[in-house]
Amino acid sequence: MEIREHPTVEKKKIAPDKCVLTGKGDWYFPQSDIYETPDNFTILIDMPGVDTEHITIDLRDNELVINGEVSQEAYRDEKVLYNEYAIGHYHRHFVISDAINRDKIEAKMLDGVLSLVLPKAEHIKPRKIEVKAE
């Protein structure tokens, strides 16, 4: 596995030319990883600053839509002197196939990282076919 000396957390701003945005605040694409294990697909998404109760995960047709909203309350009484990252909401969507057992998708939020576990459907898992002796 590649280990970089300086990890980066970069989020790309969602430009309003491809979509229609409503509501307050900017939206960003968070960075994410997708891993495959023998039984699951795991999606990890960096969403620093989002509370567990401000995450919505929707599955519509083939699309898994993840939104996370960030509160900026804390800054109200403070004067910002230096700013390197933008605070905004997060949005990311993934198209999923029939290879996933949709009833058993699980999500967990830990330390600003959302992890989604998408179990593989039974019909795509490798199966061993036993040879019967006659």
Binding site: C19, I34, Y75, D77, V113
Partner: protein, 149 residues
């Protein structure tokens, strides 16, 4: 809550998408240190803010264990060191997409003023580190009482 409505894409939009991806790639390749100058490459990105009593340093550090973080203050320099470790699944894993990166980092920040070193506190919530540095007594404005002669 805000809503995002995505435009449904037609066949020509796919071409536009490829063009967009290519220009993103060219941007990445042609500008070695991205962003405005060197500071943009520093990790973690920080926000420094201030109120009457304290200086606040916030850093976006998602997915790091508290035990992997090391924070030190000396006079007016704050140092944040740590390591972001890759997730271990314990079974055979392949990855299909990797945008997040891992590794060690260290960063020192010059604070806008001297902090009361004994009273510095740090908390880590939802992947955001918040270091609260109470302003040292000499840095706070002192009211001078005018004596009647």
């Amino acid at each position: 809550m805000g809503l995002i409505k995505w435009e449904r894409t037609g066949p020509l939009d796919t071409l536009a998408h490829i063009q967009g991806e290519m220009s993103d790639l060219l941007n990445v390749l042609s500008s070695a240190p991205r962003g405005e100058g060197y500071a943009a490459m520093e990790f973690p990105p920080i926000i420094v803010s201030l109120n009457e009593s304290s200086v606040f340093v916030r850093a976006e550090l998602p997915g790091i264990r508290i035990s992997d973080l090391d924070i030190q203050v000396m006079d007016d320099v704050l140092t944040i060191k740590g390591e972001r470790k890759p997730v271990a699944f314990g079974v055979k894993t392949t990855y299909l997409r990797r945008e997040r990166s891992y590794g060690t980092f260290a960063r020192s920040i010059m604070l806008p003023e001297k902090a009361d070193v004994e009273e510095v506190t740090a908390s880590y919530k939802n992947g955001v580190l918040l270091v609260t540095l109470p302003r040292a007594a000499e840095a706070k404005p002192k009211q001078v009482v005018i004596q009647k002669a």
